[in-house]
Amino acid sequence: MSTANPPSDERLQDARDALGRIERAVNRTVLGQRQVVREVVVALAAAGHVLLEGLPGMGKTLLVRALAHALGGRFARVQFTPDLMPADITGHAIFDLQTETFHIRRGPIFCNVLLGDEINRAPAKTQAAMLEAMQEQQVTVEGQSLALTPPFLVLATQNPIEQEGTYPLPLAQLDRFLLKSYMDYPGADDELSVVRTVTAGAVGDTLDVSAVEQVLAPAQVLALQATAAALTLDDAVLDYALRLVRATRDWPGLDSGAGTRAAVALVRAARGHALLAGEAFVSPDDIKAMTPAVLRHRVRLGAELEIEGYRPDDVLAELLAAVAAPRA
């Protein structure tokens, strides 16, 4: 399988340069998280949403704000709390006494980049309010469907340690996220740079992203995403992606494997990865590079593996080594 109109070399070059500039701009602000920044940029190219998981103080919010700043467009932030209602996100109808009519007040979800901070602190009802927006790029308020302005990117964060007072995301919600990225502790040198940079002349705890220049306009992001979607994808590569996803369903130690949406997400993410690498086609290396980020939140470990301290990435690494890569 290949696309009918593969992108021209010039278009490829432009897209690669734009993605490279975004990656560099975010990396200048968020130090020591190159892998996460790369995955977020891949998700941007693939028009997918990202779930960021990490301890407090790892730079999750800073990363999202820096990305939003680099992209231009409208940025919104929702702090998820137990008393947050769906209408607080999507919007609601208010009665205008002067005109005696109802008006729709649009919620913060009407933006280009939405930061859902600590998404697992809101109950399932509120989390579900984002399902329609993430999947169909539209919101229904008072029975009226309102389209979101593309590009629309949700970056949600959650804390993996504190479980008290949280509502774990249901699988259906998790499946809407193209990728799940872990933000781990930065290296010693990077951490030193972070502290030095942040404390140099700064007052208080403010996150300063003013140094991030705007790299793209929203319209350019759409063109970039179209370029990624037009990359050549061979049948053997597609078959490899599908075999990886299907292998999760019978793999020992996994209670449940990934669904068909995971296969779609894997191919989309691989396209974004190939574009970021400057390739005109998707290769098995792109599939393999994105498999952990795409599948780690879509598989469920068995109780024994969890007790033994295994993480989904450990099982996925075994799976990647065992599933044969295409060689013909």
Partner: protein, 479 residues
Amino acid sequence: MTIQARPRSPWESLDLGFALARAWFGRLWLCWWLTAGPVALVAALVLHRHPQLWLLLLWWCKPAFEALPLYWLSRAVFGEQLAVAATLRSLPRALPPRLWPQCLWRRIAMHRAFSMPVTLLEAPRGRARRQRLRRLGTGASAWLTLVCAQLEGIFWLSGILLLAFLIPAGLPMPDLTTAFVDAGPASYWAGSLLLLVAMSVVAPCYVAAGFALYLGRRTELEAWDLELVFRRRSPRGGRSARAGAAPLLLATVLAAAAPSPVAAAVMTPAEAKARIEAVLAQPDFGDTREVHVWVYVGADSPSAAAADDGAVLPAWLVQALASGAKWALIGLAAGALIALALRLLPISGGAQRRRRRRREAGAPASPPRAGDAPTPPTDIAAAVRHALAIGDVRGALGLLYREQVTQLRATGLALPDGATEAQCLRAARARLQPQALTRLTRVVTLWRAAAYGHQPVRPDSVAALLPAEAKACAHNDHG
């Protein structure tokens, strides 16, 4: 433990042997390891790269490992239980040079358990040994060997399965076939160690049962029980009996089959006759019992008898049916053995065939594999040229890429099935010479462009990557 000398059937003797092994299992097991342990350690140091040879050596040396338990048992049965130090000191006597044939051309003999006591304790040589064994017979020692071999197998498999069951459900299960066929991985060593332990557990029973068979046979043929009674009743024998009949019997065992002079020589015929009559008057010799049982003798009426006569098959037909059934059973057994050998022996490619069958059956437990990546042909150049001739550039590059992967694996590089092109290149950087690495890089670049990018690749650039052409190019470059 008291052992009564009396005639026993082979099955009773085997039972006695297993009872002896249970009673003295710890000592016999220790005796076995006293010889097997050092051999296993030294062999492991020498043959650590060849676990199959290590296992074969230990299996082949089993008669040498069983000599010390046999020696210890031959003393213990007659009341002399050697301590560990004394057992170690007796090693030269327990492992005489006449043991070598048992470890060489007599290793495969099914009657080893029976012939070992004859060879090691009586020490006849050549023709005398053969005559001695012929006279004693072999009892049920072949069955003993067969049962003990099966016991070893059962213990071995049980150990492997026990280890496998101890792995918590859900954790990745190791491939159990590597415990049987593939040499090298830890699971094969674990399987081999378990087999050694199984051999050590069964060996005391095997040795003791073989020795008990030997004792039973000699008791039956040489009337040791009577001799012991005579000895107890004779003035000198009475003293011996008071001190315990065992040393006398031990002397008899170790003095070979030659009849020893008995104390009866000092008695007058009348005295001897009286003693013999007294012995024969004992319940063991003179007791008669009358037993009544019902026995079916057939129908009384002539008509029924005639009908029965008519139903009897002719003798020749019965003979033919029996013969046919016998050969069918032999054929089935031979077929089963051949199938088992083909399945287990790595030399027959059984494991590969099994894996292939599992792939074909699409077993869900095995990871899905690329079904379109066959092994590269032997003559890679001819295959590539043929592919180029028919315009299949992608196929030609695929052949070259797979050949490169095969060569990388031949250098000892561990490339899993899931290794992609970039991983192969990364792994090859530390192993290949610059020239070979350049060729691999070129092959991978063209292969990725043609296969995944659907980009046109010139056939002559592919042909230049053939091994011979690449060598010529490199030669010209150097020239």
